[in-house]
């Protein structure tokens, strides 16, 4: 039996605010197996992003344990998680003092082993993989559009081909075509490299196109986690509104149709 990729046990997250304590997660349990694509859904303020940040060790839980790749997060963070976990932040979080190529190459460069030619080529591969032109390589982040920032950030998250990839709103700010391209890229990496993906998103198309499992956060815990079809039938007001509202029904109907071949960034 292989160890789960991420194992969250009895997690409590409590935020101090002037009005008193606010409990975000209460006794939350979630296990993510290797090779899954898990979508985390939930209303605003249910602590989806907080959960991602805790998996990365950027935020401390009040109580409970999180193990990533069989190690407590604190131990993993000390080793430098770049080789194991890639993260796509909501706003991209590109280093504004570096060019696009330097941004993407940054984790590889920090290893201080590979010669510049190898690093540059590896960064170029990832740059073009996420659908950017080679001309973008020497631009500064401030010269990029929102969608391009997101792609560069994704390329940087993927540079080390980490086994675990965390995505915070990956398709927000992307046009539908780019969003399809992103889905195709993630699906290909999932297929070829056994990539595990945890994504926070409200984009129903992306959820149904990629997810092998959906976890719903509500009432301060994971109310249901399972295959898309199982989650849809779960009785809870949030699940009902989210998936079976006007927009949800459209996406679910689309799911029932035979899947269309996803458009790749560049046809392989």
């Amino acid at each position: 039996m292989r160890e789960p990729m991420v194992d969250i046990r009895q997690l409590w997250s409590i935020f101090q605010s002037p009005m008193g304590e606010r409990v975000i997660h209460e006794n939350l349990d979630l296990t993510i197996e290797a090779g899954e694509i898990l979508s985390l859904v939930g209303g605003s303020g249910t602590g989806k992003t907080v959960l991602l940040r805790q998996i990365l060790g950027l935020e401390q839980a009040a109580r409970g344990e999180i193990r990533v790749l069989g190690l407590p997060v604190t131990a993993l963070a000390k080793q430098g998680a770049a080789a194991h976990v890639g993260m796509l932040f909501q706003q991209g979080a590109l280093f504004s003092a570096f060019t696009v190529l330097e941004n993407i190459a940054f984790p590889l460069r920090e290893l201080k082993v590979f010669p510049p030619s190898v690093i540059d080529e590896a960064a170029m591969i990832k740059l073009r993989m996420v659908g950017l032109d080679a001309d973008a390589a020497h631009k500064m982040p401030s010269q990029l559009s929102g969608g391009m920032v997101k792609r560069v950030a994704l390329a940087r998250a993927l540079i080390m081909d980490p086994p675990l990839l965390l995505l915070d709103e990956p398709t927000a700010g992307l046009d539908p075509e780019s969003a399809d391209g992103l889905c195709a890229l993630l699906a290909a990496m999932h297929r070829d490299m056994g990539l595990t993906v945890v994504m926070v998103t409200h984009d129903l198309d992306t959820i149904f196109e990629l997810s092998t499992r959906i976890a719903v956060l509500a009432d301060r815990r994971v109310i249901v986690a399972g295959k898309p079809a199982d989650v849809l039938t779960f009785e809870h007001p949030f699940v009902h509104d989210f998936f079976l509202g006007e927009r949800g029904r459209r996406a679910v109907t689309a799911l029932r149709k035979p899947p269309r071949p996803p458009a790749a960034f560049h046809s392989l």
Binding site: A34, H84, E121, K126, H138, S142, L268
Partner: protein, 394 residues
């Protein structure tokens, strides 16, 4: 999904010792010919161990030199894991084409194919020849002119806003003014007092050592009085405020630019000259003379105490002799000068703040430029004052 591949490593440190996972190439003689068998985990993290990397590059370059007579077979099936960096190393070694005989599973082939498809030459950076340098120099000159223009425009706008304020004083941004007065003025009192006091002590001590040689002890009052009241008090205060409040104004406005608050104000039709620049300029022009007087007072106190301790100039004598030694016009000049300094610091800080571009680097550059420029301008204008009013008060 290729569930056959183990997906994660137990621990990073084990990699160097765990032989089974070390990326390597094993040569095998088979009836069909020589086979290069790849083993271990060909991933960026595993290749990044210095000994492993140098060993592997040597092995690969040896392979290249000692070309086999018969075509080489490549066997990737024993690989534990292959990622894009590993595939890239292999692909580069193969001379960017498929060798005649490769045995690999589907996902390995797809990774290699995507490396083949996406690898490309890095476009060259724009050159740094003489022409580029000349052009940069021109751009630098134009930028300077642009700054001068922007500052002039800001001053004109401030004048118009002041007229508007005088016509309808009740509509002025008085709450903002009082907030800035407190933050720029009141909170700066402790630090300016400390610096002023210490400068007074040091100056008085140095002067007293010189004067005692001539027995001219009493002249310490004249020297300290004129230099502190006329020059050092206003200058010290201006430099401290430029560093303290000038930078904070620039940073504040810069962040407003980054977070698009400035644009939001513009869309709502709120004049930023009237709501942002005017209150800060007014508050600084008001607070600066007061802080200057406060700094001067503390430096004089420091000077008096030191004079009392290091030579026989008592506090009472100092206080009595000071009005005779320094004309009141010096104080008037110093106060007027300070108001101008305050105005200049506010204008320069706002100017650079409004020009910040929406990224963090530009914010840092703007703040630095703001402080350096305002201190330089304060010193230049002070020199101008010294020349213009050389006949006043001395």
């Amino acid at each position: 999904m290729s569930a056959t591949q183990p997906i994660h490593s137990k621990s990073h440190q084990n990699i160097a010792t765990a032989d089974a996972l070390t990326p390597r190439i094993e040569r095998r003689e088979t009836p069909a010919g020589v086979t290069q068998q790849l083993r271990g985990r060909w991933t960026a993290a595993d290749l990044a161990v210095p000994t492993v990397w140098s060993g592997l590059t040597h092995q690969l370059s040896d392979l290249e030199i000692g070309r086999e007579s018969s075509p080489v077979r490549w066997d990737l099936r024993q690989l534990d894991r292959l990622d894009h960096v590993g595939a890239q190393v292999l692909w580069t070694h193969w001379g960017r084409q498929w060798p005649a005989d490769v045995q690999a599973d589907d996902s390995q082939r797809r990774i290699l194919e995507s490396v083949a498809h996406f690898s490309g030459l890095l476009p060259a950076r724009t050159g740094t020849g003489w022409l580029a340098r000349f052009e940069n120099f021109g751009a630098w000159l134009l930028r300077g002119a642009d700054h001068a223009l922007g500052l002039t425009r800001l001053m004109g706008q401030l004048l118009l806003d002041l007229l508007r304020l005088m016509r309808r004083p009740r509509d002025g941004p008085w709450r903002d003014v009082s907030g800035h007065l407190f933050r720029i003025g009141a909170t700066a009192l402790p630090i300016t007092a400390l610096v002023g006091f210490l400068i007074g002590v040091v100056l008085a001590y140095l002067i007293s050592r010189q004067l005692m040689q001539f027995g001219a002890d009493a002249f310490v009052v004249n020297i300290l009085g004129v230099s502190l009241i006329r020059e050092l008090g206003p200058m010290l205060a201006a430099i401290l405020i430029a560093g303290r409040s000038g930078s904070s104004i620039t940073a504040q406005m810069g962040v407003m630019r980054v977070t698009e608050e400035l644009d939001a104000m513009r869309v709502m039709g709120i004049a930023r000259g009237f709501r942002l620049v005017l209150p800060r300029a007014l508050a600084l022009a008001l607070a600066m003379p007061l802080i200057s007087i406060w700094t001067t007072a503390w430096s004089l106190l420091g000077g008096m105490l030191t004079a009392d301790l290091s030579m026989n100039v008592s506090l009472a004598f100092f206080a009595n002799a000071l009005p005779g030694a320094v004309e009141v016009s010096n104080l008037v000049l110093a106060t007027a000068k300070s108001a101008v300094f305050g105005l200049l610091i506010a204008l320069i800080a706002c100017h650079y703040g409004l020009r910040v571009k929406p990224n963090t680097e530009s914010l840092g550059q703007g703040t630095t430029a703001s402080v350096v420029t305002s201190i330089t301008v304060v010193i230049l204008v002070d020199a101008l004052f010294a020349v213009l009013f050389r006949n006043v008060g001395i």
